[in-house]
């Protein structure tokens, strides 16, 4: 995945400017930064959910406009989307991740079932497959959404704040699932406030501040054993408004 000179504006207001980010295959990248720094906007831009106002985006070496191999990407949105107005079982939600690979009007094939079983096993929810999603705790719902993305057997996994509001045991289960993927050679891009148990998995950290990249390199606590956060810049420079709701209604960013 490569983004050169990327810029995104929501409702005419520039949010991201001058983003150059290339993620080589097999890397585990963490996007960090405070609320309103543009982390979620950036992942929504690289998955095509928000249009770029400038710059070029290429996925797997293909320019975005020509890209059609969507089954190679797995997206885990923020948790709000896990339940709808009609009950659905864990297995049904995870199976819907296979739509990237299924042909129209065909029943679920044996390969589809195997992929769904395996995805459930990776996130440790095999025994809850027949439970309704709305009965699960927040952390388990987050794991369901990850399993849904995994069911499509993606090479690039993009996760938007999977650890937000998730307790430690669920974070550990999540880290275990991501470790399995990393060992299989998947490329992972993850947005987070806090890394917790994910810490040892991170190859590279990108810190966003005010819509720009403020730091790009290895996680510092790795290299020198210091405390687990970064000080990219001493100045406070937040001219992103702190009122979130007008932006939320325009397509969301946090």
């Amino acid at each position: 995945m490569a983004l050169a000179g990327g810029a995104v504006a929501i409702g005419g207001r520039p949010i991201l400017r001058g983003i150059d980010l290339t993620v080589p295959a097999g890397q585990f990248l963490a996007l960090l930064g405070p609320n309103g720094s543009g982390k979620s906007t950036l992942v929504r831009a690289v998955t095509g959910l928000l249009p770029l106002t400038a710059g070029r985006l290429a996925l797997f070496g293909t320019p975005y406009d020509d890209f059609a191999q969507w089954h190679r990407i797995g997206f885990v949105p923020q948790r709000s989307g896990a339940t709808g107005g009609v009950p659905a079982t864990v297995r049904e939600v995870v199976s819907s991740g296979r739509v990237t690979r299924r042909r129209l009007l065909r029943p679920l094939s044996a390969a589809d079932r195997r992929a769904v079983d395996e995805a459930l096993e990776v996130v440790g929810l095999t025994d809850r497959a027949r439970t309704g999603v709305s009965q699960l705790s927040g952390g388990q719902q987050q794991r369901v959404l990850i399993a849904r993305a995994l069911a499509g057997e993606p090479e690039l996994l993009v996760l938007d704040e999977p650890t937000a509001g998730v307790d430690l045991p669920n974070q550990q289960a999540l880290a275990a699932a991501l470790r399995v993927l990393k060992e299989r050679g998947a490329t992972i891009v993850l947005v987070a406030h806090e890394l917790g148990p994910l810490d040892p998995l991170i190859d590279r950290a990108v810190v966003m501040r005010d819509g720009r990249i403020a730091y790009d390199g290895p996680l510092r606590s790795h290299a020198d054993g210091a405390h687990g956060h970064h000080h990219p810049d001493g100045r406070r420079h937040d001219h992103v408004p702190h009122v979130g709701s007008p932006f939320d209604s325009l397509g969301g960013h946090s």
């Binding site: 998955t47 095509g48 959910l49 059609a68 969507w70 089954h71 990407i73 997206f75 885990v76 949105p77 989307g81 896990a82 709808g84 107005g85 009609v86 009950p87 659905a88 079982t89 297995r91 049904e92 939600v93 199976s95 819907s96 991740g97 296979r98 739509v99 990237t100 299924r102 129209l104 009007l105 679920l108 027949r130 439970t131 309704g132 009965q135 959404l145 849904r148 993305a149 499509g152 993009v158 209604s249 325009l250 397509g251």
Partner: protein, 334 residues
């Protein structure tokens, strides 16, 4: 005339077939509307279609076809307004509701038709169903069932999480428009049996009934179709039986029967959900303080009547708000 002779009449048979088909198709499309939390979309389309009916009366063309056209336009407009999201979705829907209804009543007046003509479309009228209408309903039902059951995985993905579906490469807007257009056509076809103002009840109430008992999306969908079919045909038969004594219209009877089915499954659903929540295993926690119960009146067991809930390697008996676990000769508070 006996009841048997009544059902021998061709118009009654046509009505039965039309009701059966509507009862199948409306909940099938309604499930996706409920999933997207757009339960009232069908009602909005119904109101907009009133203008379509009035246009048909004014121009002297078939009101069914003008209603289909206007309803499809209205559904597409709602979908576009909702997707753009700049206006509050609720308010946008309300504007269309009232515009459609007011336009319909106004144009009917201009056309020189009284409220009675419009009423046949607002609340359904069985003896106006023609042979062609039945064939049209059949064709539509087949299309709705092929699309909703055939494209179930895609439609489920789109309606439960549009962002995920878009990154998965699905054309979310096309699928949403497909559902909206099918809903519009279903509404206008069903106006002959239950009427425009009540048709969306047949899209929503069976789904609400079905999800009282179902846990999965597929079971809800199929259950809703079953409930819809039973309510539509049952309501028609009941209204025919009662019409010997008073003028009972089929449309409201169908809707009230569906609501009665909801009302009767609701307590069962409450009980099932409560039971399931009660028997969900307690999470295992490693550090537990050891508290024994006071003198215990009886021995817990399979027959003691207290729910036995799995908790790690043993079971806890839920007893008066406490969790009692067997520990040697006494019970522990867990």
């Amino acid at each position: 005339m006996t009841l048997w002779e009544l059902f021998g009449l061709p118009f009654m048979q046509r009505a039965l077939v039309a009701a059966l088909l509507t009862g199948l198709a409306a909940p099938a499309i309604g499930t996706f509307l409920v999933q997207r939390r757009l339960a009232l979309l069908g009602d909005g389309i119904g109101h907009v279609a009133v203008t379509g009916v009035a246009l048909g009366l004014l121009t002297g063309t078939s009101p069914t076809w003008t209603a289909v056209g206007v309803a499809v336009l209205g559904a597409v407009a709602m979908e576009v307004i909702r997707e753009r999201g700049h206006t509050n979705g609720d308010v946008a829907l309300a504007l269309l509701f009232y515009g459609g209804l007011a336009g319909g009543v106004l144009i009917t007046g201009i056309a020189g038709q009284g409220a009675a003509t419009l009423q046949a479309y607002l609340f359904g009228s069985l003896n106006s169903i023609s042979q062609a209408d039945v064939w049209f309903t059949l064709g539509l039902t087949v299309v709705v069932l092929v699309v909703t059951l055939g494209l179930l995985p895609q439609l489920f993905a789109v309606s439960s999480d549009p962002e995920f579906a878009r990154v998965a490469g699905l054309r979310v807007r096309a699928y949403n428009l497909l559902v909206a257009v099918l809903a519009a056509v279903t509404v206008t076809v069903a106006m002959r049996t239950v009427g425009l103002l009540l048709v969306s009840a047949l899209m929503v109430v069976p789904v609400a009934t079905s999800q009282q008992l179902a846990r999965s999306f597929r079971a809800t969908l199929l259950g809703a179709m079953l409930v819809g079919t039973l309510a539509a045909t049952g309501g028609l038969v009941i209204s025919a039986v009662l019409s010997f004594r008073a003028s009972v219209q089929p449309g409201p009877t169908i809707v009230l029967l569906a609501l009665a089915m909801f009302a009767s499954t609701w307590p069962i659903g409450v009980w099932l959900r409560r039971r399931q929540r009660l028997l969900t295993p307690f999470p295992e926690v490693t550090v537990v303080p050891h508290t024994t119960t006071a003198e215990h009146p009886h021995a817990h067991g399979p027959d003691c009547g207290h729910p036995a809930v799995p908790h790690g390697d043993h079971v806890d008996y839920v007893h008066g708000g406490h969790r009692h676990a067997m520990h040697g000769e006494h019970y522990d508070e867990h």
